[in-house]
Point group: C2
């Protein structure tokens, strides 16, 4: 079989499986998830043995230490995959829920009922645990899934695929409800992205390069975010201690993730007080400052920021700082340089808080809280499949509900149109 | 200016206007809509004079009578455009509505707030009234709009664009919030479909050819339906009189529209009784029957259906009829040949009604009601912008809410992540 026919067969089989999945009871789905969790723990040695093959190959190919680290299935990775599945089993099943009902003057009873999206393709990079995390959530929402992991993780992903198949078969669900692309060639991705007849949604997870590649080549709708250039605006009415804590937490609690702070904007009236107060905390946290000219006059260790700094997603202990005249200027800056991912304000002023949440066009807008809260778990959605910064279908963290849609259900007793 | 630079300028201007539109009060938006309604009535003579130029050109180019009819701005067209705008002004403004609020254990108050999508591009065929209807609804939802009508309607659409501009300027809203593409060349569509940086959504309205062209060439998400191959299944427990009325209404009340019935499926146990009872109503309504072999034995005037008939969207007084063993077979047929647009059942059986709405994967699923109810107005959504048969973002009729999305708004009092 050619790569093309392999992928097309997978896509067709997923479509067929998705019809059965849509009708599958919550209980059956949970059985699979719990069975799979057990199997992953029971087969830890097998998974790690296969993972070892990927690691050996990866080292031969000269992968960086960071890449090797992400590729490694540790004991803790096994544990977290199994626990993740058990948590997903706990989530309420969104399928079949009636989200709204109303009655028309002619007596028709109209409602919207939640249904799965159908077939979801996930394209991701090295971490093998994504195979389990993403598959589990899509599956619980009643979808069939096709997973295409990084080519460097193929042995590990195939091992996980074998275990998933067994769990599906044992529970009497369609084996093809979860499939892993079995080839390394990049061509497979292009073919996958062309199967709009069978696949309803593509979710890419990884670096900006991967995501841009997927968006440019996909004929299927894609939910994604390119990057998180997150902002914090410290208003003149801000509680300085609160602003300090939120700023350091947003930047330094975990600098390598998409909801970490990248640019701090400070109101001119409090700039000197606030930035002076930040000098020590910045130094203690090891944060390098790239400031506007005025910032550099206050923070003498700061480097002069260049235009590129305002667009930068550092993912590192570096922070761009700019002094602005007012909230309008701050919002304009965020709109121009930001990525519509996460924007926060620290303020004690009621009207500005109200205007900021209304006017700031971003997937998550926060008042007096850390940018690090843009996360499905933190916001109470349960497990998340990622964050969307495009507005269609989902904007912000995507939980299990975002993996479904609604249809209209109409109950009548003989109504016809006049 | 080249066509390319013209279109890119329009897209950029729309993006800028969309930021102001998102912050615009409901009152201001309604002012524009009502002002525009008045202006359309007051400038009827001007609009019709410009429309006459399109009609003369259209006749010279040999457009069919049906095309000329759709292109004509009659007195009733003027009236219906103005009334449509007044109805849209009455619709509740979805922007700013908080659709859900919850509190996290750490005290964070999280909510989802409705916001406009941003910039919407509408690509449509001859009817100039779409210019007003589509623009009005997108505008009320707080979006900027770029309209690209049929090249044969350019004079009419330009006339309407002039009037829209005046209404926007008089109310102090950005003139570029609603723009009409001022050139005939098809190249303009291709360039428009590439502006993913500035345009958030494309809605094509017209025949299947236009829609396929748009989907294949767009880098921007597209909401659309290709066709409506709508089904009615008459269950063995059906009330025969009710089934008769629903069948005739679904097929014949307006056969040229997407929610008209195209294929009738009848349970074998009542096939003879029901189809015999339909013989006269079918004849009276002038409906031609294309039946399966068994149907042809009952309805002697029926033609033998070919495989292509099961896929057909006749949009005419023709009906495909097939006899099936049970509901499962009916659902399988609808899934295989249907378009996920509208599927109905007539039944008196509680369990089958329940299973049909659960298992039938279609944008609108009806029990004991005509397929003709798949319509935003009929289902109580108010004015509609079209029907979607793809599942992402919207599935089924799309009203004003489907022209918005939600962002997360988080209120804290200093929360940081542990």
């Amino acid at each position: 079989m050619t790569i093309e026919s392999t992928i097309i067969e997978m896509a067709k089989a997923a479509k067929t499986a998705s019809v059965k999945m849509a009708r599958c009871s919550c209980q059956k789905k949970n059985e699979v998830l719990l069975n799979l969790a057990e199997k992953i723990e029971a087969n830890a040695a097998f998974i790690q043995k296969e993972n070892e093959k990927d690691l050996i190959r990866g080292k031969e190919m000269g992968l960086s230490d960071a890449m090797i680290d992400r590729l490694t299935v540790k004991d803790s990775t096994i544990k977290s995959m199994a626990e993740g599945l058990r948590e997903v089993a706990q989530l309420e099943d969104p399928v079949g829920a009636v989200t709204k009902t109303w009655t028309r003057p002619n007596g028709l009873q109209v409602s919207r009922m939640r249904i799965p999206l159908g077939v979801i393709g996930i394209i991701y990079e090295s971490r093998p645990n994504v195979t389990i995390d993403a598959a589990g959530l899509c599956f619980k929402a009643g979808n069939a899934v096709i997973l295409r992991g990084g080519s460097e993780a193929l042995y590990s992903n195939q091992a996980l695929a074998d275990i998933i198949s067994k769990a599906l078969i044992e529970t009497g669900l369609p084996e093809k409800a979860v499939q892993v692309v079995p080839v390394r060639d990049r061509e497979a991705v292009n073919i996958l992205l062309a199967q709009e007849e069978f696949i309803d949604l593509i979710i890419p997870r990884g670096g900006e390069g991967l995501i841009r590649f997927v968006v440019e080549n996909s004929k299927i709708p894609v939910l994604k975010h390119y990057k998180g250039v997150c902002h914090l605006y410290v208003d003149k009415s801000a509680d300085i201690d609160m602003a300090k804590d939120i700023c350091i937490n947003s930047k330094a609690q975990r600098p390598g993730v998409c909801n970490a702070l990248e640019t701090l904007l400070v109101n001119r009236e409090i700039a000197e007080t606030f930035l002076k107060a930040m000098e020590l905390p910045f130094a203690k946290a090891g944060i390098e400052i790239r400031g506007c000219t005025e910032t550099c006059k206050i923070l003498l260790n700061a480097k002069q920021a260049e235009e590129a700094d305002w667009y930068a997603e550092y993912l590192d202990l570096i922070l761009a700082v700019k002094i602005v005249d007012n909230m309008e200027q701050a919002i304009d800056h965020m709109t121009l340089y930001g990525s519509a991912h996460t924007e926060a304000i620290v303020t004690s002023d009621y009207n500005r808080a109200r205007r900021f949440v209304r006017e700031m066009d971003s997937s998550v807008v926060l008042v007096n809280a850390s940018t690090r809260f843009n996360d499905g778990g933190q916001l109470g959605l349960g497990a998340e499949i990622g964050i969307s910064t495009s507005k269609l279908h989902a904007f912000g963290p995507m939980g299990i509900e975002e993996l479904t849609t609604t249809k209209f259900v109409v109950f009548g007793n003989g109504q016809v149109r006049e």
